[in-house]
């Protein structure tokens, strides 16, 4: 037995390589945004702690549950297509889209509440960060949903099967990134004080 036989080749990244460079770039931007938030908080601790309490934690937590569950549905879609179960794959993708829709609805309720109180980006530093961070993420949820919807339509047209499903893995990877970012954003902006 040769040494080469003993080593296992690492797997390739799931999905299209291009989406991963996009994901790394997105994570870099969000990462900088998070760190800047934490540093700015250092200079305005009382203000950040005070206005953080005005946020709706119930909606924030519910949105976290929705995104995690939606990510779970996406991984089920990937598993289904690997078994060549196209119908199941489409159902799971639609379920994931429903989770994303739920997120957008709850977030819109939260924004409507804040905007009706006259809160905007220039209200204070905390709200500037809260609104810009969450709105930036909100836009990513919409983009992720557009990708998942496009993938679901293609799957319905028979473009994917057990051997060829790179498109589904690509959409799934992006959607998990959207979830990953919210996993940090939720405790940072809504909970930790």
């Amino acid at each position: 037995m040769t040494a080469a036989n003993n080593t296992t080749e690492p797997k390739l990244l799931p999905g299209d390589l291009a989406i991963w460079f996009f994901i790394f770039m997105e994570l870099l931007v969000f990462g900088i945004f998070f760190i800047v938030y934490a540093v700015m908080r250092l200079q305005n601790i009382e203000m950040f702690n005070y206005y953080q309490l005005t946020l709706n934690r119930e909606l924030g937590a519910a949105n976290t549950l929705l995104l995690i569950t939606s990510s779970y549905f996406v991984i089920r879609a990937v598993q289904a297509i690997r078994l060549n179960n196209i119908k199941q794959c489409i159902y799971w993708l639609y379920a994931a889209l429903a989770g994303g829709t739920g997120f957008l609805i709850l977030k819109s309720i939260e924004y409507a509440d804040k905007f009706s109180e006259g809160i905007n980006l220039s209200t204070n530093t905390f709200y500037m960060f809260y609104l810009s961070l969450t709105l930036f993420h909100f836009l990513h949820v919409i983009l992720g949903m557009i990708i998942l919807f496009a993938v679901a339509i293609k799957a319905k047209r028979g473009a994917y099967n057990a051997q060829n499903h790179t498109g589904i893995e690509t959409g799934a990877s992006y959607w998990h990134m959207v979830d990953l970012v919210w996993i940090i954003l939720f405790p940072l902006v809504y909970i930790i004080r």
Binding site: A38, S71, I184
Partner: protein
């Protein structure tokens, strides 16, 4: 143990961790231990997403280093600023 480690139990674990984060927030607890616990919870959830949802557990070290490196760098940086403020 492997029998219980799958996407279903991982999803369930993340739900439980999210609820624990929410409940700690509702109690209004603060302090270094609480901040570290909440950030560690975020790191665990983020790690599970990277490893098992994004399926990066068996990809080359470089890709895993980028993803886990991002997660740890962000959370440690946040932790440092909160520790300074306490």
């Amino acid at each position: 143990m492997k029998k219980f480690y799958n996407v279903h139990t991982i999803w369930l674990l993340m739900i439980v961790l999210t609820l624990s984060t929410y409940l700690m927030g509702m109690q209004g607890w603060s302090g270094i231990a609480v901040v570290l616990f909440l950030l560690l919870t975020a790191v665990i959830k983020g790690g599970l997403i990277i490893r098992d949802f994004m399926e990066l557990r068996d990809v080359s070290f470089l890709w895993r280093a980028i993803m886990y490196g991002w997660l740890w760098t962000v959370c440690i940086s946040i932790a440092v600023t909160y520790i300074i403020s306490l």
